[in-house]
Symmetry: C2
Subunit: 208 residues, 2 copies
């Protein structure tokens, strides 16, 4: 009945779980290492055996977010609908459903860190960028799959970036107001914009 993995794997994941949760709930600077240790049920030496510093732990948390992007964020959306345009709005709805029960109290874990540590931690910023790139990558893929349903002249990479903009900007306002209205408003305008694009492309197709 020996454990199938070295015990440090369990320690590592307990630390990562606690750190990710606390960084999300309280922010990076506001979270003390001692709190992470307590919540993970681990002693300082164990943590510093695995990670040389609190900054390195943050890097590991962001690496894990990258790994979890598809299984946690994108897979449910892809399962919900096969239509590429619908997937965009399913993704935006998923975030709404996640954060509405908490009255938008936590916000996007990546976005929070982006604004808190992007300037002060040069080695962290690329990891945040990597998460955003991955996120946008899925939206770009969907927009490519939409084919000629969208105008040929449309800059699809720009639209993908705008979807992330809507998500993060809308969520920031939702957090500030503890209300969904600005988030919903932004998503509705994006819906309206994409509907106009779909209509224009449809017209272009029927005209030749």
């Amino acid at each position: 009945m020996a454990p199938p993995v070295p015990s440090s794997t369990d320690t590592r994941s307990r630390i990562l779980d606690a750190a990710a949760r606390l960084f999300h709930e309280q922010g990076f600077n506001a979270t003390g290492v001692s709190t992470i240790l307590r919540e993970a049920g681990v002693n300082p030496g164990s943590l510093y055996n695995l990670y040389p510093s609190k900054d390195a732990l943050l890097a590991a948390v962001l690496e894990r977010y990258t790994q979890l992007l598809h299984p946690v964020v994108m897979a449910p959306v892809e399962a919900a609908t096969a239509d590429p345009i619908d997937r965009i709005f399913a993704l935006l709805k998923q975030y709404r459903d996640w954060f509405l029960p908490l009255e938008f109290r936590l916000g996007c874990p990546i976005g929070n860190l982006a604004l808190e540590v992007a300037d002060s931690h040069p080695e962290i910023r690329p990891l945040i960028q990597q998460n955003f790139d991955g996120w946008c990558g899925y939206v770009k893929k969907w927009l490519a799959e939409a084919g000629d349903r969208l105008p040929a002249s449309l800059d699809r990479d720009a639209l993908a970036a705008t979807v992330l903009t809507v998500m993060e900007g809308g969520l920031m306002q939702a957090r500030s107001s503890r209300s969904a209205v600005a988030y919903d408003a932004s998503v509705a305008q994006l819906r309206s914009y994409i509907d106009l694009l779909l209509a224009r492309a449809s017209g272009e197709r029927s005209r030749g």
Copy 2:
């Protein structure tokens, strides 16, 4: 040659200047009171004579941002152009011009605080909300002034919130990538959307 105002006015503004700059550059939690004191050239007793706590100082900084919103942010835009639609994009361009020279290193001072302290400081969140409301208020006014150049069916409050969404979401990505591309892309999509709305309204006017 006696100073025309009590000396505490000067102390107060030196503290507010230093605190606002440091909160913007480093964030709230990462800024020590001792740093504010040093940069303001003030002793702890003077600060705590004016503000009972670091949190109260943050509140004062946010009050001042509210006061400065028109003279610093909106007045230059209103001076740049009288056209209400152009003003929206002049506003977005002004932020770009402010932050491009720093490679988007600092970001929006309000937005940064929104994500850092909205949850943990209940008395601060309304002040952030007040700043966002003021900002959106000007955009709403411009959209109203656009009259029937925009479709009657358009939800103008929702579009105003979306302008702020584009600004904050775009700036977040710009900070993460140290590049303007996602910001520019988001603004370009907004431009494209509003052009479609203007064209539709124009068609509606000419048809009836």
